[in-house]
Symmetry: C2
Subunit: 452 residues, 2 copies
Amino acid sequence: MSTPGAQSGQGEHSRRGAAAAAAQAGTRLDPWFSSYADRAHGMRASEVRSLFAVANRPEVVSLAGGMPNIDGLPLEHLAEMTAKLLRERGTKALQYGGGQGEEELREQIVEVMRYDHVAAHPDDVVVTTGSQQALDLVTEIFINPGDVVVAEAPSYVGALGVFRAYQADVVHVPMDDHGLIPDELERTLTELERAGRRVKFLYTVPNFHNPAGVSMALERRPQVVEVCRRHHVLILEDNPYGLLGFDADPLPALKSYDPDGVVYLGSFSKTFAPGYRVGWAAAPHAVREKLVLASESAILSPTMMGQLSVATYLANFDWYGQVKEYRQMYRERRDAMLGALAEYLPEARWTVPDGGFYTWVTLPEGLDAQAMLPRAVTNLVAYVSGTAFYADGQGHDHMRLSFCYPTPERIREGVRRLSTVVRAEAELVTMFGTPPTARRGDAVEIPSPDQV
Amino acid sequence: MSTPGAQSGQGEHSRRGAAAAAAQAGTRLDPWFSSYADRAHGMRASEVRSLFAVANRPEVVSLAGGMPNIDGLPLEHLAEMTAKLLRERGTKALQYGGGQGEEELREQIVEVMRYDHVAAHPDDVVVTTGSQQALDLVTEIFINPGDVVVAEAPSYVGALGVFRAYQADVVHVPMDDHGLIPDELERTLTELERAGRRVKFLYTVPNFHNPAGVSMALERRPQVVEVCRRHHVLILEDNPYGLLGFDADPLPALKSYDPDGVVYLGSFSKTFAPGYRVGWAAAPHAVREKLVLASESAILSPTMMGQLSVATYLANFDWYGQVKEYRQMYRERRDAMLGALAEYLPEARWTVPDGGFYTWVTLPEGLDAQAMLPRAVTNLVAYVSGTAFYADGQGHDHMRLSFCYPTPERIREGVRRLSTVVRAEAELVTMFGTPPTARRGDAVEIPSPDQV
């Protein structure tokens, strides 16, 4: 909720008068306005939320959402498997479990991480309510207000929301087509150290980056690990898309280079299904211990029904075959997206993702993705403005386009619509100059699940 | 994790030397020891955790746990219902949902709350990962470090853990057999106001209190609401057991007296099953808005599979008939517990619960429940020491006994074993005086899910 505007009085007491009036107005609208914690006063919905309510109408092609396409899931198999689970182990599946998560599932998670070259022990794994909760818990146990989180420029909007909710300062480090740039990381950490800032961790999405669509090159991975080790900065490696590479096997995770220096976050939301809300963190031993305590305080225990459903699916179905089908489907959609961009929007630039859900588009000079969004939605196409992915106001010249959910035909149609909006906008800019855009405040903009 | 002990040096530098040595020792055991947030340094497992690992052995009668007994659930019906859900609505059930929770379920939650005389709108409801997450979210949006939460003496251990994780100061208000005492609440709030303390909310479990086993009398409910309204203190009403009364229909919730002054927390864990992790908060409008934002930041969205499973069960099964069966089962266990206490432990006192899971036992003079616990576990019976339910070190003369999970025969056997421990302990006390007990520090003791 934003603070309602207040009429300023005149004279020397005007500022105090305005604050008092605002507080009074807040209290009128919300009887608990004066009771919130400092962190909550900054929480407000992102400005584009109401727009996304519109964007979810069926006539709008949404290139905004990060929802996986799960039409290919073996529903009949899942129905039988789940019925059997309830019949045979129902009183376990419907009961509370331990705060760390079921050992049966943690053992399977260790196997899943082997694809990323991670050698972990089930004791190192904490099962969470999606990897989003793991992100929240890591931030909770490490961040005091004013601590620094170093993150790629751009970064996952849902992570930025968490960091700001815990009142961290996010400092961005540049990327290129090969991911985070180790020299820039070194420079940034050195500068922060000189400035006496406390850097708690590096947040990075090395594979098929959200939103940038690029991956960290193999040779950079040990370099990034080495830079962080030298500066004693923990790495928070977020890897929801790692198994969804289109052309090659997964690259080694950062955690494979330094198990004690990296907390690795994984998720079944993109390789299986988001509806169970099952993700995990694999952490150094002492960190894992704190994550479990923080999670028990927050939710007591993760859903046993969801955990055993995932465990049963992994044990009884060719889940990696399903992942391969997902890859094929997303590759076709990526191809449709890149083909349509080349055909309809040659004046823009974009990254070429080898996996995952997103491409990152740079608009022609002078265009502002945030200002253009309402007109795009009016023209029945939606995207996420690049501004959502920075903590420091950058990103107006970028947009994130996702190719995960709509069909290839809809993707082409969406990009075509987008191109007419971009052309019209470019004409306006030529005639009247760049339009003013809404200023970003210091408030925590929480993305809606449609946007992540 | 507790800070490892350090050798003190001699002379004027000894304290600084000890702190440095402790930090060094911490760093040796945990490379990230110096990186944690302030809130995390205090998080440690409760001392009795390792004991509870023992207490979970089948030969031990555990009167400690708060796990519902779900043996009576209609597993065959649930199996068929869930298979149908996956076949017919699988791509919805397995997808992300909105952060506030599914409207279909929120409408049913409104109907469930009618039993408590609450008239709410589905827009006021936020679905959470068990009501524990709702507790965490409310505390997150209201509590700055040092703010006061007023809570019954004793209070739910899982709530105390959350309050301390957010660095709240908990101030207890006495109860009697009719629940929280309004005059004591008035006195406490007035004193805190005079002392200039900022009281953010009253946390209360009005029905079948955990751990006290008592309910707030009907005539006290409007009084408590009125006291809080006069002091402009929000009420956090936690009601997981409300429908599990043995003898009468539920009393009106505090929220029914003042919808804008109360955040009501509900759960399906005790009336249906905990394994889905589906609970909720019903909040005043502006508070609800912040709860949704905080929840989206923490977990994106609650499990759709869990939500639709609960919604389908509520819609297609005589769920209230199942609740009545639960009542009957728990009543028999309560009777077994009270009968065994009268037979084996007449020298103790205990509350007589009209519902829920717990009775609160006062030990004979001089006995210490915390000190006695290891000996009880050695004698194959477990309970939770009263000290777990206070933030201020009280409770040594109390224990919580739960009658929810074991059979009536096991309950009787457990109380019999307990009585032999109490007798032996009383003899020791007579001979050697009250034994010294472990001092409580300021650390946040996180209960294991077995203890809640």
